[in-house]
Symmetry: C3
Subunit: 346 residues, 3 copies
């Protein structure tokens, strides 16, 4: 038996199966610094302990997206090493803040399997949960992946999952315990715009562009201990459809969110991920821009929440590139992401 | 009103105006490691807690240049987002050491404004100060920037600043409290040369060369949370005079200082910045070399101070490239920097 | 006298000479994060404090290879600045675990010198030791280097060293104090394979490939504060035999070990380095793959030890590229490395 991990194929998955993922990871100030260096993120809440303490937290929490990428990365060797495509994710909920020094591990449960008619692949739906060193859940999300079969002859019985919710409802949103925006310093945060200033339907061009280098996305993706080969092996990728390395979609999300600071500086803390689509691949050398649309607003009492659509593209976004009437995306759009973030009220 | 920050234009500045900058930043061991990885700095004082403790400090202080870049970065969105050129800086004083765990924020005061006769731009002079979480000032410097007007029609009244001092005098130099070189270990520091060994007028070729990659300067500049677009947006830069991304001048300074270790290993702690000129731009792919000249020496009692001129160029510096008799720089010179550093006496 | 360090030439070395190296270095969580980002290492023992604590340690130890590169880097300015070639190393022993916050320094002793008949170079053999802030040795290894003479006229007397041992014997292997694999979690570690599952002679293809960028190897080598010019100065390297920068061999070792996770996930902790050969240079743009062979097994009581041969090549390693019958290496092989690692017993 080979000692190297061949990954799971479609016929290896069964509904109800639980998979404990390697590798546990202590997230530290080193990761925080790298996350800033790799994305240019300027959200004050994640950047300064004193700012976070003035918001009622023990210290600057780890950017929820860094938590997401870390947990996601752990699931890759077991879930998507033999994936053809990541089809979607949903029901992403940040359940507790993570602080430097916490150790994360991840477990996935198979929610359902469904073979494709071509006999070569099938769709596996899993719920992946991240836990801290105390066993407390910090993140939960559902994703579905098209996975190759090891053998076309393998017989499988479909066990379809419950359809994931299209939206995390506002009643499911959890503010970090202790979060208190009473003394929020809008000057230090970099923007005067509070919950009340955003209108549903409002679109924001985030203006700035960021060109991505091979070294940068490789550093980020390795930081997340995500080992999917398509991101790292230029030699093998020469034979692929694209002929080159693909940038991990999580890198695109984090870059777009960092760019979105310019317009959403106070909407730092992500509460939930409703869904996301990686419309087309991003490659090294591309320059990423982003725009946002306010999809909904919810008053959570001590803070507001914005439901935001984040679109990232390979060209400036003053014209808000999106879909045409036929539902086809502008060819320069790479990401269409739907999430909730909390924001101070005035 | 657009939510993204358009930055201030010339007519938005007024003498006496104070601007509190975003984003506060906790500087950590993660930043220290990245600073070493990005520059190759080998100064023992910033590299080893035990060495710094043997010099009377609580721990290894943060390299003053990293403090400078962090504070400078904060001022960019408010001061120089619409700048045409950074014209100069002066009166840079490191007022207190910064340690891992400290949180920095920055405030600028407009010292003066002066419109240019072309009606399109003006010069804004500011004093920027960095503070730690206790509100203690850690850095103060003056810089003047040529800034675009939003509208040529805008009427402004000149309010010229006091001319900045051409030199921080030795009486203004502040040693870090507790600094004591009595037991200084020259072997561990990497050089036997003490204050007494340097002569005014002496030139030192620092020998080593460092080629800079796009990913490296982008990582460094994002680490400083400096978002000036010219460093990151290759697509927009294609339309610029240079056709490509410019390396942030602070990256050049830090690289040159790291290279200067080889000849100035004991002159680790920068006390003051007298001024600096970014003679020509540095681009990815260029290889940076550096040489120094001892401009002055001051005995501060418990330690010495050297006033040093640091010149960086795109070619080896054995011939000490500088200015010709007409005052024109060698075309390969990129930086001419004037600062004070402390150094142990024998 | 020039202030910049010209390095030692062959005639500067004498048997018995002890050289204390600059720069002491506090290894931190920042270095750990960078090591993960630069290599993609996923060994649970180095990644998670809680996992290491469940293995009886105080916290996640620093990856011994990071300790090796850090100590090695310190020796470069004194030992190999004027080296023509690194000929070999042996007797590498990790003597105590290093934890985040420890400060390392290094000392070398010259074991012997032997002039070459060409009159231009000679071989210097040194033992380099790394120590922590308490003066406790953490690493010891022997290396021999071909070093240029400053002057062909210089007279030297050969003082040959004792021949280094070809193997660190199992009785010399030191487990980290407290290490206890009783409750080892194979799921979290990412592999079910224990000591008992590996057979002498067994070969493992580690499957994954990693393309290396200039920025990446430069960041890593600077993190180690290794300043050998061949890794950084593209302009000078244009005149060299290869015409470009060489990747530091330590980067290759760390990448190959990170790749080797896929097949050796439980053999995380390196105990000793028997020897290694950098068969041919690695350049930016190359894609690295690796395979391993189990050379020997030793039961150390509370844990097992595997003696492993790690071969890295510029092409996939399913065919285990190595030497032909004439002893000539496959031209794509870059590294042939021989070490001991500990691994849990079932």
């Amino acid at each position: 038996m080979t000692k190297s991990n061949p990954g799971n194929f479609f016929e290896d998955f069964a509904q109800g199966q639980r998979i404990a993922h390697a590798t546990p990871r202590t997230v530290t100030e080193g990761d925080v610094a790298l996350n800033i260096a790799l994305t240019g993120s300027r959200y004050a809440l994640f950047s300064a302990d004193s700012f976070a303490q003035d918001c009622g937290l023990a210290a600057a929490p780890i950017d929820p997206l860094l938590v997401f990428h870390t947990v996601f990365g752990k699931s890759v060797p077991d879930i998507s090493l033999n994936a053809v495509a990541n089809l979607g994710y949903a029901e992403g909920k940040f359940l507790a803040p993570v602080y430097a020094g916490d150790t994360l591990h991840a477990v996935s449960e198979v929610l359902g399997i469904k073979a494709n008619s071509n006999g070569k692949t099938g769709v596996v739906t899993v719920r992946t949960e991240g836990f801290n060193q105390d066993g407390a859940p910090v993140l939960s999300y559902v994703r579905w992946v098209m996975v190759n079969k090891r053998s076309e002859a393998a017989q499988t019985t479909d066990a379809p999952p419950k359809t994931p919710a299209s939206l995390v409802t506002s009643s499911e949103l959890l503010l970090p315990p202790g979060l208190d925006f009473t003394n929020y310093d809008f000057d230090l945060a970099g923007s005067p715009h509070a919950f009340e200033d955003y209108a549903v339907g409002e679109k924001i061009d985030h203006v700035d562009g960021m060109t991505v280098e091979e070294a940068e996305h490789q550093l980020a993706t390795r930081l997340y201990q995500n080992t999917a080969r398509v991101h790292f092996d230029a030699l093998a990728q020469k034979q692929s459809r694209f002929g080159k390395r693909l940038i991990y979609g999580g890198v695109t999300i984090s870059l777009a969110r960092a760019i979105a600071f310019n317009g959403l500086a106070n909407a730092a803390y992500m509460l939930a991920i409703n869904g996301g689509r990686h419309v087309s691949p991003l490659f090294a050398g591309d320059t990423l821009y982003a725009w946002s649309e306010v999809l909904a607003k919810e008053d959570l009492g001590s803070a507001g929440a914005l439901r935001l659509r984040l679109v990232a593209a390979r060209k400036p976004c003053a014209a808000f590139p999106s879909k045409n009437d036929a539902g086809e995306y502008d060819p320069d759009v790479v990401l269409d992401f739907d999430y909730w973030a909390t924001i101070p009220k005035r």
